[in-house]
Symmetry: D2
Subunit: 338 residues, 4 copies
């Protein structure tokens, strides 16, 4: 039974982690942290967990976390993570970091997009990117896994097979991404108040969204040629779910069935990717760790659809996949519905 | 053309006031205030008003407001209002106050429910309660009108005819009230974040909601006997709308048709109350100044339904009704769809 | 491994049953029925089940169902169920019937509320009512279990402890019930079209809703005195969840803590009832089999809150609890998060 | 005072037409039709209109409509419209047709996309396309105006200035369009049931949506070169609103400010197009006749955003603009907030 800590237990990703861990047969949550000094019981923070955990959220040092836990989910904001992670590793923990701090391999790119100098740059280049569908071999032996962004996984999983097979142009890929509001986190902000985003659809962060370099880095690694995307995120009036509608240019004409076959073959052994005939809907994957993928041809324009639950496959579900691999378990352990 | 100022222009009630005033033939908005020192243009605050107003929100003194405007809508929080209103009156403005500060006639009751000593207590007892359906005679000559609360108007309009006709017991009236999230205002709070209240229904403020004494005061005034209600507000996953399902006890058995006739007669001359055969739905009154009322018998239990748009008939629509009466206009002027 | 059939596999309750059964360690789904003759694959009907079941929905006779399955979930509409159930029992199946056909013990009451003569009246009086929190002893040996209605369970679980302890008056209990739209089923109807019920709250079926006699029958059985309720259902703009706000009269004054203690003691051994200090919200129980209960005093008016997921604890979750008991398993088997 | 009939009064576009006409100073609704034989009162169909119209929906012949009305809004389904329109014109009415039947100038294209032979082909080529921002000169003298589709207007208004100025390539324009559910009409269908589309985002009609040839025809007319778009509609969990995110290729690099200036100049005299600095949101235009447009550069990829209320500017609002022009009135008459 692995002992697990969650740093930053008050957000939505922590809540989803706890829901999965509540039914996980090989993991016991032993520590939860917050910067609040009042030591709130976790059910005060997340009433839906009533009866499932009897733990308080404490302001713990890395050393204390290390004494209580073997493996840590670090759900802190970026920049806070790159402070905490080295200390956690020193304290003997293995870490799945859900922030963006260890996803980009180049500290210069990090500084460019995040506006901060990276304070732990030497670790960037040898941190594993925790998308098991692509990097499963590297995860089990790692001490630190950089858990992918939600838009990122959804986009990458849809495009990777086509780039790996050299079927699409690596540049000029338009991604029109649509996310539920939980992706914006649980800190009160005007833009995510209910009456602001209910009954409304809009876009944001055009040209500046920080998942852009992450998508390009991983797809370049997979495809071999420099990938360049125009990533355009939109906010949807729903709790959870991401649909990426992606418009790459085919190198040569293919049929929908040929393309689906390529994608199916690529994910043949992956339990959490479903290549489907119908157009994916976020509702079909809500509250699951599935990524549903399909393609269509709009005359000669290829359209790739990829759908996930941003809090599960886009964050906490893939984090538990990573935990399972770190612990030597089947990656499906504790996951629904497998 | 009356010159109009709005104090506290950044909230939802101010936005709805501006939408109505944009089409009002006899009112010109000449001043908007905010405590922010950056003088934001009103369309930065409310992009939906683009092209309709060319005004900045300024931190103005009461004297300056008095120089620019004849009539002021005071959309400040409670306690801020009772500081501003005496100064505005001194500056020669007539005021429609949308806060709770002048609604209760007894400063002791105010202190009990709001937790503050009232600093302008002598004015309480002779301030007009701005529900034109009940107090139309007193409004035209007033300098200060206390605009009613949203739950309050909706509850009162449903019950007043039955109390005035002595058909129901004045005590033990259960009100199960259901409101959209805009009723909680536009300040970012955890409880009104989209992912907190979307796909959820809950109650709050049981026994402590401050609209309770307001409902009781007005209904006691109308009915002649001391009214006592159990007011139970609930939060609904929608932007706007209030449905009050009210459960009074009939003094003697009546048919639905007899009860509807009493209510219809009571509101015979009121353009904004619709007594309907069907059960009201908040959607039927959304974006209008209507209050829809109907009744049902559940065996021998009377059920009174009353529905409004909390931002219009529950706040800014009735405020413009009051403004129209203060200006000697037909109360429907500028209002939809009349 | 029990062999399971679902009759009427196209609706929302069937979908939720299948989601639970997909992770159930002791149950295998072997037959799905529909009246459609096209034998659609279950993933055409419910795309979210892709990869989890490889079964088609067929128009099977009771005999054929009996050959394929040991236990049947009958998710047919009322009147269709009372035709099918006797044949299924004859074919050797044990049955959990999710319709209303076997819930009322008196065929006269059934006829009065449902408008049909019951064609299997002799079975009514000895069918077990499948609410395990109240009737757990009778379920394991039954061949037929009448699965409760969603509003019904939610209301009963909140009120039963107070009636069993003689703390509240058995008559005049007002229930203001609020349900998500999935409770209305999956057949296309104008009233449940998205643009009709989104951004709207209304009531329906006042005095005529068929869950009324069911609530009264069970609470009378529990409390010993004739219970009479005024049941008032409301439609909420959300997918799933029921909140019942209930207003009984206390026989003598009690504190909130005394009342919570009574309810806690009553459900001491029940894993799916959570007696909580905070006011329940439907979101806290969504996608779980929990029923959250709390109480408040609004001056001297008791308010009992009870919240469930109408599709899980209100239908398919309790159905699997019943299945588990019929199979001699712990009732939590396959259920989240226990 | 013009006498107005609406054919097909039971849908959402008819409801919005009636709401606008209720406040229109120069129009009186004199006839409403339905194929139902029960002559329902319009407030039975649309309870929100209670007190505003006292008319029944009748199954009227074209001759009878001609006797009662000068101008007809034909809100029938496609194919029904091309039967009715010639009769209405013969009966002396002027017609604004809200169906697709008269929008395409080539009967072959109509047959290809709609799957029906056009039965009134000779009228196609000389019917005015009722988008006043582009064809205002031709509308006042017409007897028949083809009211544009909702996706169509929203897409065209965003792209027309850039094509007219030869700034973007006419082919390979990707349109990722997002619409609220009311766009799918008011006939009960599984796909638009609340629990099917709530909390879900998906796409549909990729490569087959019938607004494709309409967009291409008009933009080709405006730009002079053959326009070819990949139109990709998506369904959003909200009542109303369309956001089109459009990805054309710039012919040569331009700044955002240069592009906004071109668009502002193009619409300099148009009261219902707002060229804004911020990214449009459907909420900013909901319940108005505005189309909000802006652009962004995502590195070198141009993104054009265009937002409307699909029921107002996308259907009934533009229909009243057309009516106003047919009647010789200012196109803003009766419209909010002008």
């Amino acid at each position: 039974m692995a002992k697990i800590a969650i740093l930053g237990a008050t957000g939505y990703t922590a809540l989803e982690l706890l829901k999965i861990l509540a039914r996980h047969p090989q993991a016991e949550v032993t520590a939860l942290t917050t910067r609040q000094e009042t030591k709130p019981h976790i059910t005060e923070i997340h009433p839906s967990l009533t009866g499932q955990f009897d733990l308080c959220c404490e302001n713990l040092s890395a050393e204390e976390v290390g004494r209580r836990a073997d493996l840590v989910f670090c759900a802190l904001p970026h920049t806070a993570s790159m402070e905490a992670v080295p200390q956690l590793l020193d304290a003997g923990c293995r870490v799945v970091d859900l922030s963006a701090d260890y996803r980009l391999s180049d500290p210069g790119v990090y500084e460019q997009w995040y506006g901060h100098v990276h304070t732990d740059p030497t670790r960037l280049n040898n941190t594993v990117y925790g998308l098991p569908e692509l990097y499963m071999d590297q995860i089990p032996d790692a001490d630190l896994v950089a858990n992918p962004g939600c838009y990122t996984s959804t986009s990458i999983l849809g495009l990777a097979p086509l780039l790996a097979s050299d079927l699409i142009e690596p540049n000029g890929i338009i991604i029109d991404a649509k996310s539920g509001v939980s992706g914006a986190g649980r800190s009160p902000k005007l833009g995510t108040l209910y009456p602001e985003c209910n009954e409304s659809v809009t876009a944001y962060g055009i040209g500046t969204h920080r998942h852009t370099p992450e998508i390009e880095q991983i797809l370049t690694d997979i495809g071999g040629a420099a990938v360049q995307v125009a990533f355009n995120p939109h906010l949807m009036p729903m709790d959870r779910g991401i649909l990426c509608s992606m418009y790459p240019r085919l190198k040569s004409q293919k049929s929908v069935e040929e393309l689906l076959t390529v994608i199916r073959d690529f994910y043949a052994d992956q339990p959490f990717v479903r290549v489907v005939e119908h157009i994916p809907a976020t509702k079909h994957v809500a509250h699951t760790n599935f990524c549903d993928i399909s393609v269509r041809l709009n005359r000669d324009q290829l359209v790739v659809f990829s759908a996930t639950d941003n809090l599960i496959k886009g964050a906490s579900g893939v984090a538990v996949q990573n935990m399972n691999l770190l612990l030597g378990l089947d990656q499906r352990t504790g996951m629904l519905p497998c």
